[in-house]
C-alpha cells in the first residue's frame, strides 16, 4: 500500500457554509460546518492525543461543547479556528486534570523514543509514521500542538496563533524550537532525508 502524503492547502476553504439562512435550524448549520472541517479537525485531535481512542473522545467532547456555545459563534467567520480552539482548550484541561491525578504515560517514564533502533530502510514500506509520531508525542503539549497545526494540518501562523491564543511571534518561536527538538529525536531520518535516501 502506498502511504498518502499530507497535501497542504495553500488556500484555505472559505466558510460560505457559516451563514444560517432562515429555516435552517442551528443543529443543521452546526452539522454542516462540523462535517466540512471534520477530517482536519480529527487530524488535529489525533496528533494532539497520539491515539485513536483519546482523539475520538476529544473531538466528541469538543463537538458537544461547541454546539452548546454555538449561539456565540458569528456566522461568516472561520468555524475551523473557533472549533480548533475549543478542541485545544479541552485538550489542555484534560492534561491539567491528568497531571493532578498523577497519571504518567509509559513513554514519559521510559523515554521510549530513544530506544528506537533507527533503521531508515524500514521507512520505505510506510513504517515512517511510527518513529515520527513517537517523536512528536515525546514533545511537550505546547510544542506538539503547534507542530500539529502548522506542519500536520497545514494551517498558517495566524490561524495557529488564534487557536492557541498567543501572539504570532510565539507561534513562530515555539514552532522553531519544536522542529529543532524533533531534529534531535529523528536525527538518523533527518540525515537520510537530506541525503535523498527517503
Amino acid at each position: 500500500m502506498t502511504s498518502a502524503h499530507v497535501t497542504l492547502n495553500s488556500t484555505l476553504p472559505v466558510d460560505e457554509l457559516a451563514h444560517t439562512t432562515d429555516g435552517t435550524s442551528a443543529r443543521d448549520s452546526f452539522a454542516e460546518l462540523l462535517a466540512a472541517h471534520w477530517d482536519r479537525a480529527y487530524r488535529f485531535a489525533y496528533h494532539l492525543t497520539g491515539n485513536a481512542a483519546d482523539s475520538d473522545d476529544l473531538i466528541q467532547q469538543a463537538a458537544e461543547e461547541a454546539f452548546r456555545a454555538f449561539h456565540r459563534f458569528q456566522p461568516g467567520t472561520r468555524f475551523d479556528r473557533w472549533f480548533f480552539r475549543i478542541m485545544h482548550n479541552s485538550f489542555v484541561d484534560r492534561i491539567r486534570r491528568d497531571r493532578r491525578r498523577k497519571i504518567f504515560s509509559l513513554d514519559e517514564v521510559t523515554g521510549a523514543v530513544t530506544s528506537d533502533a533507527a533503521d531508515p530502510s524500514a521507512i520505505a514500506e510506510g513504517a515512517l509514521d511510527g518513529p515520527v509520531l513517537r517523536a512528536l508525542h515525546a514533545l511537550p503539549p505546547d510544542a506538539r500542538a503547534v507542530i500539529a497545526l502548522v506542519d500536520l494540518v497545514g494551517l498558517p501562523y495566524d490561524d495557529a496563533a488564534e487557536i492557541l491564543h498567543c501572539p504570532v511571534g510565539t507561534v513562530r518561536s515555539r514552532l522553531h524550537r519544536a522542529r529543532l527538538a524533533l531534529r534531535e529525536w529523528l536525527r538518523p531520518y533527518v540525515d537520510a532525508m537530506k541525503r535523498g535516501d527517503l
Binding site: 480529527y42 506542519d151 500536520l152 533527518v190
Partner: protein, 154 residues
C-alpha cells in the same frame, strides 16, 4: 552576524516580509551553519508531511452528531432545580423507595441494534456469506451517514 533562529523557520514557511526574507537570504549566502540548519528544518518538515493521514472511523461523525445536543446538560443545573432535587431525595427516603444504581442512559442509535442483530444472524449456517458481512459492517455505517443528514433523525 549572529546565527539565525526562528527566522529560519519563518523563512522556510514563507511568512517573512520581503525585506526580512532578503536579509535572511543574504546571511545564508555567507553562513554554512545556518544553511545546514535550514536543510535540517526542511527535512523535519518533510518527515512530518510524509506521515499518512489518520482517518477517523466513518461512523464517528454521525455518532458525534447524534450525541450533540441530545445529552442532558450536565453542568447547568439552576439552583431551584437542585433544591427541588434535594426535596425529591428527601421524599424518596421518606417513602423508602430504593434508588436503583444508575442505568445506562446513553441513547444508542437504532443502528447499533440492527448491526448487532446482523452479527447474530450471521451465525446461522444458511446465511449468505457475503450478505452477512455486508449487513453487519457495511450497511449500517452507510445508513448511519444518511440518517445523520435528515433533520428528523437526531
Amino acid at each position: 552576524m549572529p546565527h539565525l533562529t526562528d527566522q529560519l523557520s519563518a523563512y522556510l514557511d514563507g511568512t517573512l516580509t520581503p525585506e526580512e526574507a532578503a536579509a535572511v537570504a543574504s546571511h545564508l549566502a555567507e553562513c554554512a551553519e545556518c544553511r545546514g540548519t535550514l536543510d535540517d528544518l526542511q527535512a523535519v518538515r518533510n518527515l512530518l508531511r510524509a506521515v499518512p493521514d489518520r482517518a477517523p472511523h466513518p461512523s464517528l461523525l454521525p455518532r458525534t452528531l447524534a450525541r450533540v445536543g441530545a445529552a442532558p446538560h450536565r453542568k447547568v443545573a439552576p439552583r431551584w432545580m437542585i433544591a427541588a432535587a434535594g426535596a425529591a431525595v428527601g421524599l424518596a427516603l421518606l417513602l423508602q423507595v430504593r434508588l436503583l444504581p444508575t442505568p445506562h442512559t446513553d441513547r444508542a442509535a437504532g443502528i447499533w441494534y440492527f448491526q448487532q442483530h446482523a452479527v447474530f444472524a450471521a451465525a446461522h449456517p444458511m446465511t449468505d456469506v457475503a450478505l452477512a458481512s455486508y449487513l453487519s459492517s457495511v450497511l449500517p455505517y452507510e445508513v448511519l451517514r444518511e440518517w445523520s443528514a435528515t433533520p428528523q433523525n437526531p
